[in-house]
């Protein structure tokens, strides 16, 4: 078995963040979150624990919906989706996300695709994981230029969901909605606190010596490289074969 691939750490971390969910939904082009959800499902299956349901939007094999593209949102509104992933061109220190663009809206430049369902799902999915591999001051900003969806809401606003964590290529943060703000939970192998501070446009709490992000144990890694990669390849063939090439390089 070769060294652990950085993305294997992300996938393992996602599986840990999802622990306890019954139903997780994953966006259309999100192979790493999907792999994390599949790893959790495989771990639970092996342990004989209650099954984990995964809905992958736009997938045929993992499409459990039969009521059109509104069903994901209905299902979330019913409280039947426990976890979801959101990214963003910008994410700020209050957990606000921007999927619309830079600069003076509406004349955004660049203009990104748009907010999709974020302005709703961020409110009603209990465990939203912010995931963005790029960890730079360009992405992690002090204040977003456009709030597609706010990280926290005033008291009295109906809100059953929101961000619990921010996972990047360098580190894992927990979100504290009372403050509100992020706390550095761990650094991925090869990344230092000073580097992460430089790469982060917002201030965050952290321990004096933050721990390293937990690595997958041997059994988990075998499950990930075997069963989970096989499952992932059905939906994301190119991503799976690229990861396999890099692991075996």
């Amino acid at each position: 078995m070769t060294d652990i691939h950085p993305r294997e750490i992300l996938i393992t971390t996602i599986a840990r963040l999802l622990d306890g969910v019954r139903h997780v939904a994953v966006g259309a082009s999100s192979p790493i979150p999907a792999a994390g959800a599949m790893l959790l499902r495989a771990l639970k299956q092996r342990a004989g624990a209650p099954p984990v349901r995964i809905s992958i939007l736009g997938s045929v094999e993992h499409n459990f919906f039969t009521n059109g593209s509104a069903e994901l949102f209905d299902c979330a509104g019913q409280g039947r989706i426990d976890a979801f992933f959101l990214g963003g061109g910008q994410i700020d220190g209050h957990g606000n996300i921007n999927l619309v663009g830079i600069g003076d809206y509406p004349a955004s430049a660049p203009r990104w695709p748009g907010s999709f369902g974020s302005a709703y799902l961020y409110f009603v999915v209990p465990r939203v994981i912010l995931f963005r591999e790029e960890h730079s001051p360009r992405v992690l900003v002090e204040t977003v230029d456009f709030t597609s969806a706010p990280g926290v809401s005033e008291p009295g606003i109906h809100r059953t969901g929101g961000p619990v964590a921010l996972l990047t290529g360098k580190a894992l943060f927990r979100f504290d909605k009372a403050r509100p703000g992020f706390t550095l939970e761990s650094l991925h192998p090869g990344h230092a606190l000073a580097e992460v501070r430089d790469a982060t446009g917002f201030s965050f709490d952290h321990a004096g010596q933050p721990p390293q992000t937990a690595l997958p144990d041997r059994a988990t890694l075998e499950l990930l490289r075997g069963q989970v990669m096989d499952e992932l390849a059905e939906t994301y063939p190119e991503f799976a074969s690229q990861m396999r090439r890099e692991i075996h390089a």
Partner: protein, 271 residues
């Protein structure tokens, strides 16, 4: 009907409802609409847009786009759409997916509005003066909630696998196509083929059928979603969308791409 006849139903200034890239986009109608040339269109994306929106914008036919997102998926941003925004040539009414569905649902139910949770505190709401926030009348006080007004597009346009001789259209589990048709004044559909049996004639096919009652016109357009795929029929031609994305980075490249491949020929070439 033929494609050209259906395209002529679209008049300048109309609002068109168009489906998401994986639900059944009538790319065949895109070219017919561009040939027809009715402009000042308001596009209503259910709930997001892609190639079709980009081409209609690139052809100069679009006045505004209401959508939750516009992109070419793996091929990146929508080049003509993004440039039109940067130049202020089109109005974008940014929404969020369930708000698009809520507007259609209000129209489906004959209601003036539909409530929707979330959104409060989003800049989407700040730029949507046509949306309202009220205090939930069932709460003790407070509890603000957003109301989305009914969306009643003039024309819904999509592509589906089959229609029958009675005008029924099989949409499978893509129920947003039905939602579009319920809400719209007219619904124009392209299909891969016309089948002889009545789609409402047995419970199995009836379950996925949009009744003729809601369908204003049907035209046969084999591979009519291409280069998008059609569920259960053919996959997306990602290479072609990437070819478009590259060409359409400039107005000239877009013009060249569109001129080089008239409707039909591209479809044939793709078989």
């Amino acid at each position: 009907m033929d494609l050209q006849g259906m395209a002529r139903r679209v008049e300048a200034g109309m609002q068109l409802a168009l489906p998401v890239d994986y639900a059944g986009v009538s790319m065949a109608m895109t070219r017919a609409l561009i040939a027809h040339g009715a402009g000042d269109l308001d596009l209503f994306c259910v709930p997001t847009g892609g190639l079709q929106v980009d081409q209609l914008v690139g052809a100069g036919l679009v006045r505004s786009v209401e959508t939750s997102a516009v992109s070419l998926g793996e091929a990146g941003g929508a080049p003509r759409f993004n440039q039109a925004i940067a130049e202020g040539r089109i109005v974008v009414r940014d929404a969020t997916c369930p708000a698009i569905h809520a507007g259609l649902m209000a129209a489906q139910k004959g209601n003036p509005f539909q409530p929707l949770r979330g959104i409060i505190g989003s800049d989407i709401l700040r730029f949507r003066p046509d949306w309202r926030v009220i205090d939930n009348p069932f709460a003790e006080g407070g509890d603000p909630i957003v109301l989305i007004p009914a969306a009643r597009p003039d024309v819904a346009i999509f592509h589906a696998p089959t229609a029958d001789r009675h005008g029924n259209v099989w949409i499978g589990r893509r129920r947003e196509l039905a939602a579009m048709a319920y809400a719209a004044a007219q619904t124009l559909v392209t299909v891969e083929r016309i089948v002889e049996e009545n789609l409402l004639g047995n419970e199995m096919s009836a379950a996925g059928t949009l009744p003729a009652l809601y369908v204003s016109g049907i035209a046969v357009a084999p591979r009519g979603a291409w280069p998008y795929g059609l569920w259960g029929e053919y996959a997306t031609d990602t290479a072609e969308i990437q070819r478009y994305a590259k060409a359409a980075r400039t107005p000239e490249g877009f013009a060249g791409y569109m001129a080089a491949a008239p409707a039909g020929e591209m479809q044939e070439a793709a078989r």
